[in-house]
Point group: C2
Chain length 325, copies 2
């Protein structure tokens, strides 16, 4: 986090305040797992969502302290991380032992639930009813899309529209809400709120498409094994969808090796799929779509009133989408 | 549910409307697990919390439709049931297969999270900010006390105060909030709100103490094996606490057979503990405490303005606490 924000000391300082507030909230009352959750907060990454919220708040007519709302948004994220670790039975996250591995599934599920409730309480105390509702709607959409994604695993649906709807709910909605909520709270003009909402959406779409591209492009280990964690887990993302369309009939036999209930696919089977995707030209078509979304995000941002808030937000989105960090 | 409310057709009809609203909410949008959750709603029990909320709303100065808020309160309960089934890896609940057994832990955790968010959204749309906040605080207290309880398992803490604090957060707070929220929404007088809040608290305490007593009193199967599920799971409830105090030194050797990581205790070991609790006189002391709370609840209820709402609420609490249903 310090790395990513080091050129923007004002944002960095505000994020430190958000982190302190989150730790306060977690340490308050009778919550018994304050310590491991506080450690997770300290190890937390770029804190993009609260940063977007705070950056959007700088476009408002009246300055408002958004620390509480930003803390609520990020606590939601921490809650989902804790539940993710239960679901995946993960032992560590960012190098520290997970709540799940230290206290078991029961307490980890409950700790996530506690954080959800604490986040909604904080949001309802610190923001407009509209934003409290948006936050609840957002986390609902996120859970709902995650379930859809899970139910579709290993069925390799080849609808681009279906894919776009899923990543809209999973990623774009989060980026969009963070920017929108900050602008609404700070009473920015309707046109600024609208531009930030659309910019967040487009930036989120670009970010997720690139994530899915990178999953096909990266490799690891001395043997340069393809990572391809999505296809290993039965997830059908844009590169595979476009590849299946580009080369009809090519993927069915390859994907037969990756299925629910089958043995873990070996690296040769995965490597064959990745090679076929790369050869199909689908990677560059996917990159084109990401670029189109990036362009849309940058255009929306250029509609904002000129000044430092706009320059810093544009710089941040650009750096984020070009993975230059 | 029909059985419990059959003498109160007005309440019964309103609970049907709450159930219909809950099923609407679950069926709306893109939530992919609507069907199993709707089945769970149909199989749901007495719906005490929404019933209390609606009954308390009848003391208000102005009638208000509390269907949405009641649905929100009960959806919270359904969310916790779904997470409980993940935690306990249960296959069925009320005779129907659990979301966990049908779709796996991942989708069940996410479905519970979706319901949490949907409930908070509904509450923030349909109630005063105060009640939306109370609801969030309540679910937080519930999760927090459940974690405390889990962390204390097999340590047999003998503090009565600690026990009372736990059941206050787990059960009494839910009863109390349901009555309070209904009265607040319907603009009941401050003294009525206060009496209902206290009555709900006392009734919840009485209900939970009796639950814990019944766990020591009931037996099952042809051999009349003691149920004693609490002590089997390492939970230290009031009868055991009072027994350990009444007969110092008696329980340490018996409880050594029940511990985290030990083999499942056999029925003889459990039977010996239950017998010792019964012989200690702790059951009747526990019943005395439940009676004291019941008396307090009934006294608070008698302070309410006379009329049908009071008579029906008193009758319901009486029936509930005497387990006459």
């Amino acid at each position: 986090m310090t790395e990513f924000w080091k050129e923007l000391p004002e944002i960095s300082a505000k994020l430190d305040a958000v982190r302190a507030r989150m730790k306060d909230v977690v340490g308050s009352g009778r919550f018994p797992l304050a310590e491991p959750v506080q450690e997770l907060i300290d190890a937390n990454g770029k804190m993009l969502r609260p940063a977007f919220l705070i950056m959007a708040g700088r476009f408002g007519k009246r300055p408002k302290d958004l620390t509480d709302l930003a803390a609520a948004v990020e606590l939601l994220h921490v809650a989902t991380l804790i539940h993710d670790d239960v679901i995946d039975a993960s032992d560590t996250r960012r190098g520290i032992p997970t709540v799940h591995s230290r206290y078991g599934a029961k307490d980890a599920v409950l700790a996530g639930d506690w954080l959800f409730s604490r986040c909604f309480r904080l949001a309802s105390e610190s923001s407009s009813p509209e934003n409290a509702r948006l936050l609840a709607a957002l986390i609902g959409a996120l859970c709902s899309e995650e379930i859809h994604q899970d139910l579709e695993r290993y069925s390799w649906p080849r609808s681009e529209r279906n894919y776009l709807r899923k990543i809209a709910g999973k990623t774009a909605a989060l980026f969009s809400l963070s920017l929108r909520a900050g602008a609404v709270e700070a009473k920015a003009s309707p046109s600024t709120v609208a531009a930030l909402t659309r910019a967040g959406y487009a930036a989120g779409m670009a970010f997720q498409v690139m994530d899915d591209v990178l999953d096909y492009e990266s490799s690891e280990g001395a043997m340069r094994k393809p990572v391809a964690s999505d296809v290993r887990e039965g997830l059908c993302t844009l590169p595979l969808i476009l590849a299946m369309r580009a080369v009809p009939g090519r993927f069915e036999p390859l994907l037969a090796a990756v299925g629910r209930g089958l043995a873990r696919p070996d690296d040769a089977a995965i490597g064959a799929i990745v090679d076929a995707v790369r050869e199909s030209g689908a990677i560059s078509s996917s990159r084109d779509l990401a670029s189109a979304y990036t362009g849309r995000a940058m255009r929306e941002l250029s509609r904002l009133p000129p000044g430092t808030p706009r320059d810093e937000l544009r710089g941040t989105v650009e750096r984020l989408l070009s993975r230059d960090y």
